[in-house]
Amino acid sequence: MDLDTKSKEAILNGNISLAEEIARKAILENYDINALIDTLSEAIREAGDLFEEGEFFLPELMRSAEAMKAAMGILTPALSPEKDSRFIAKVIIGTIEGDIHDIGKTLVASMLSAEGFEVYDLGADVPVATFIDKAVEVDAHLICVSALLTTTMVGQKKLIDTLKERNIREKFKVLLGGAPVSKGWVEEIGADGTADNAISAVKLAKKLMML
């Protein structure tokens, strides 16, 4: 079986040890690491499609993301800065204050980190100030804010308003997540986008980062 097929299998089966083995082998045998990362990305997107189709469920998708993350953990440090410079975008992600819904946010965080983003997952019930302070501290590119309740969505607006007040709105792209979030809400509060699911969220994040 060639490496492409094998790596795809490792991701779709959520096989962490196989994913790590492939990553190590690729480095030892001087494979094109960028090409391998692209193959792995394709596999994780396929996992996302299977989730949409109702073939994969949350545990399968999380396992795939974990396998991807494991491989990326080995591959990313091996990229040589001159030759393979891959831009690593930094993401701050969390569920807004007052809201303890965790799943969707965690899934997006896993998928982002599986795709090579440097992810700072602040958890759930995160105050606006904590989002912003952390984003400033690590010099983040993206802030992803989840709200699962129509009552906590106002926190997303508060975050954008606070960024504006502090004159740093333009420093970050802000993505909104959560079942009740609509395109209209994104426009109303001046965010940079939203997506219907974790896979589209990653696509959108990459698009915004021009990756």
Binding site: E53, F56, I100, D125, T151, P180
Partner: protein
């Protein structure tokens, strides 16, 4: 002891009507975000009680105690983990005080908000511990039966049913949250209707069904699928559509009349116990009662 029918006997005789949403009505009354609704059993008991009373007056046979998030794991997320007993006992008192002679008080048990690996980090022992504590407290406070609901992970639901079973001999209603996929109804963890029904029956559930996520029209086809796997009574408690934020207000787009019509169709397909989940209110219950009794 009052001389009223055992709930499972009533279910054999006629359709039993539950209540509707609680949390959103508390928010309308001023519950702030970040505050667990269960804390209002202590700080604003009269407001919680008024909602129960409105449901009984609308025709609910049963109200669910304001203890959906009353487990230690869930309350801990709000740093109220030490108040499990206080909130649960008070919740039962509030409902019992105004429960009509023929009415019932069900001890509501919702999900812990935590997940087993690979999604989260808790263990089955954590589930068991948290549900044993909550169901024991509710049983001691003398609920008429348990209502375990909104479970998205069959393993967590099973753990809650087993805990309730160990706690007392009270009847156990258990309701799973399914989503509709191209391949049919599944939990987000991938549990099928067949797996859910069989596992929960073996664990000791007396009533099995579904609530939340699905709107009333989406839940109609689920009822015969549950029926296919069990003779146990079926409970159905759908949402009033999907929430929308319109001009700063949360709006559910299904009207109480359409909702009641969908519920009636579920009853025709052998749902035995019906009520409402997110987006419903006493008006929905009134409409259900009118439609079902017609």
């Amino acid at each position: 002891m009052r001389n009223k029918k055992h709930i499972l006997d009533l279910v054999k005789e006629r359709v039993v009507i539950l209540d509707g949403a609680m949390g959103s009505l508390l928010i309308n009354q001023g519950l702030q975000i970040g505050i667990p609704p269960e804390s209002w059993n202590v700080t604003n008991p009269e407001k919680v009680q008024k909602i129960h009373l409105n449901y009984y007056n609308a025709g609910s046979d049963v109200v669910l105690t304001n203890t959906f998030g009353g487990s230690r794991l869930k309350l801990s997320a709000h740093n109220h983990g030490e108040r499990v007993e206080e909130y649960n006992i008070k919740a039962v008192e509030i409902a019992r005080e105004i429960c009509p002679e023929e009415g019932y008080v069900a001890g509501d048990v919702g999900p812990s908000g935590k997940f087993l690996p690979p999604v989260g980090k808790v263990t089955l022992d954590d589930f068991e511990e948290t549900f044993l504590e909550q169901t024991r407290t509710l049983a001691n406070a003398e609920v008429d039966f348990f209502f375990i609901e909104t479970m998205v992970d069959l393993k967590e639901a099973e753990s809650a049913v087993k805990a309730a079973k160990r706690t007392s001999n009270l009847p156990i209603f258990v309701s799973i949250t399914y989503k509709k996929t191209k391949r049919g109804y599944f939990t987000i963890m991938g549990n099928s209707v067949d797996q859910c029904v069989n596992t929960l029956r073996k664990a000791g559930a007396d009533v099995i069904g579904a609530n939340c996520t699905l709107s009333s029209n989406e839940m109609i086809d689920l009822i015969p699928q549950i029926r296919q796997f069990t003779d146990l009574p079926i409970v159905a408690k759908p949402n009033a559509g999907k929430p929308q934020l319109i001009e700063g207000k949360t709006v559910y787009l299904t009207s109480s009349k359409d909702f009641a019509e969908d519920i009636f169709q579920m009853v025709e397909k052998e749902a035995d116990i019906v009520g409402g989940c997110c987006g419903t209110n006493p008006q929905f219950i009134e409409k259900i009662v009118q439609r079902v009794k017609r």
